[in-house]
Symmetry: C2
Subunit: 417 residues, 2 copies
């Protein structure tokens, strides 16, 4: 289906807030097989809202409207709808009853406004506090969602996408979708690896969403029956998993740091880090997870060579003969931090983030890693493209991925991108 | 003036890329005194682009169009313009000459397309590689800018805002604008502090843009003469500086880490860090700056108490009697990392980022800091609101601000928000 998205609010047209809700809606609708022809952002102006709505409904198969559903005076959506589509606003007693029971109603009688909706509106989450309704106008669905991002996302995923999938009466189409997080392969290489699969099976719709150092890959299948959809989808998923192997690290939204944290906890192992070029970024990611103090002992940000020598006990010989950026130095950093913290597992990163410090043998972007565990120490050398910040991000995330691969007993990659 | 913004590109309507250029344009146009009535995002579809353009030009005083100016087949803007506004596309020989001289022309003859523009187009940066032009249609300016964010930003600030400021022949209005970065005061408190000034001088237009742990404040003054504008602006700036004092840390786009880095370099001082709850985030900010190895020796992420004791030499007594989150522990951490690294200046952070670990005396969000320099060690206790990630960000940025205040000999704040 071809849709349009309308976002409402002066906070958007004045540039006070970045409109991330339209982006979220567009990416998920696209991944579910729809096409978005246009997105509009409009201030709190009933006439302009009404005009945009009329035009969108005329052009598109469906419309998603976000924002302007709140209780304050500048929340104009319902008034604009009533006016533009010629639908009177009526009181929904089941909503008003709930509002009257709430504590906030006494201080804010204007909340009553939330119970007045265009006639014919179907509440998307009845009994819930989240505003949001569906209007069917000339047989086309118009979804009205709150502008609050997390509420909008919830209704988008739980209500809008499923309703659109089965829109059209007898002509029911089922949609199954999953997002795979892939690490260590750039978007162009992924597209190449999956090109034959896409060509040979036109039923699979694959979307690529580069996201910092990784790519999120969506697989969407649409079918006429539950069985057809499921069969197509499992075949597609199996093919993708066969091609990408353990480069897929998650299909349920998990982050690398959450997966590493969970594995450390399950295996009852503690972790320590020694970072040079990433300057604490990897430790920061590890400690984003609540409860990381259960397995993370600490880290050394060894920026100066003296810190590498005096705190991590990297040998002067190694620094002089192999250089601060070398697999040998990485090994000694990992072993050093493992020893002084007593951790079960240690990871070290040393590299050249740039823009200066490169040489023909070790250009900017060269980063060495070592993983030290009981008994074995493995070291790696990667090269990453990009500016200083990109190299730091890729290096830190690669560190996390090396930990994941170590903890799960997977093969290591050893290249860069 | 009332304007509209049109962003073009399938990468936007498919949700593959977040539209940050319209946001940037809206915020700067708003701050310069204009109003944005509507923003549209449209796929690479000449008819839809043309229709949107015609409608916007009819409604608004000016239009900004971004994207679709490139050399590939899906760059449709010029064709859509020619069609919608009935302006033939003509070859601009000065642009084509430059293209012919370029290396890439041999491999990519389609670059010629960049030299074909709607008749009457005025190149915004003649002689530069950045595409972008101005068309005047029915006396209204339409700016066409590239979709590449940094190019679009450059033209927006250097060309669009100044041209709009002096639009309208005899009716010239001058605009002067500056953005102040403010640290340590939440948006609501800032608005309260500046409320009287805003009320007493209607000529000052102040915008508030919360940005992670800080607020960016824009001051805009519009006047009829150069003198009037300058006088009003300097009076406004002086009043703001008097009220906010050294909470303003930059008016030229500098970041806290760049300012701290520059001061360390100028004062020939070295820095070391000891972080607990921020888990390396502050070290990461310091090392975002190229050349930070000149002054940053390194840091200890002391997550486990044992690391605090064994590496930083925090006394067991202190940990037991005062707790890991205390000004005393922060002091000993700062002194410890200063001693083992030999740095001139050391900062320590220890706190409760949550969601667990709080107590009535030390609720989640409690963070203690210490700054140790030659001779003196100062410690602070703050309380920050927000979730784990917000507390970590506020704490790390407050650490940077404490370093700035120390290095510049400024008063310290000691509260939180």
């Amino acid at each position: 289906m071809i849709g349009e998205i309308i976002a409402i609010g002066n906070e958007l047209t004045s540039g006070r807030i970045l409109n991330s809700t339209s982006y979220f809606a567009a990416s998920h609708l696209y991944a579910a097989g729809h096409e978005i022809a246009a997105m509009a952002t409009i201030g709190d102006e009933p006439q302009m809202i009404g005009k945009a709505l009329r035009e969108s409904v005329e052009r598109a198969d469906f419309v998603v409207v976000t924002g302007g559903l709140g209780p304050t005076n500048d929340d104009m959506t319902n008034a604009a709808v009533a006016d533009a589509l010629n639908l009177p606003t009526i009181l929904y007693p089941e909503i008003f009853d709930k509002i009257k029971q709430s504590q906030s109603f006494k201080e804010m009688p204007s909340l009553e406004k939330l119970a007045w909706l265009p006639s014919g509106a179907e509440i998307l989450k009845p009994g819930d506090k989240i505003a949001g309704y569906l209007l069917v106008y000339h047989e086309k669905p118009i979804f009205f969602l709150p502008g609050v991002p997390h509420q909008m996302r919830e209704l988008m995923l739980d209500r809008v996408i499923p309703r659109l999938a089965s829109w059209g009466g007898n002509n029911i189409t089922l949609v199954k979708q999953k997002v795979f997080k892939v690490f260590g392969l750039p978007e162009s290489m992924l597209q190449e690896m999956l090109a034959d699969l896409e060509k040979s099976n036109q039923k699979l719709r694959i979307g690529y969403y580069p996201n910092a150092a990784e790519v999120h890959l969506s697989l969407t299948v649409r079918g006429r029956t539950h069985e057809e959809t499921e069969t197509q989808f499992s075949q597609g998923e199996a093919s993708i998993r066969k091609i990408l192997g353990c480069c897929i690290y998650s299909d349920d939204g998990d982050t690398l740091e959450a997966i590493v944290g969970r594995s450390l906890k399950e295996q009852k192992k503690t972790l320590a880090l020694a970072e040079s070029c990433t300057g604490g970024l990897l430790a920061h990611h590890i400690t984003l997870i609540a409860g990381s103090s259960d397995y993370f002992l600490g880290g050394i940000v060894a920026y100066a060579n003296r810190v590498k020598e005096e705190i991590l006990h990297v040998r002067t010989d190694t620094l002089e003969n192999c250089g601060a950026v070398s697999q040998e130095t990485a090994r000694e950093m990992a072993l050093g931090v493992k020893k002084i913290t007593g951790a079960d597992l240690a990871l070290a990163i040393t590299g050249i983030a740039g823009p200066d410090g490169g040489s023909p043998e070790k250009p900017v972007g060269t980063v060495c890693f070592a993983v030290a565990s009981r008994g074995t120490t493995l070291s790696f050398r990667f090269h990453f493209n990009g500016n200083r910040n990109t190299v730091q991000t890729k290096a830190a995330m690669t560190g996390l991925d090396l930990l994941r691969r170590h903890l799960h007993g997977l093969d290591f990659i050893d290249s860069g991108w």
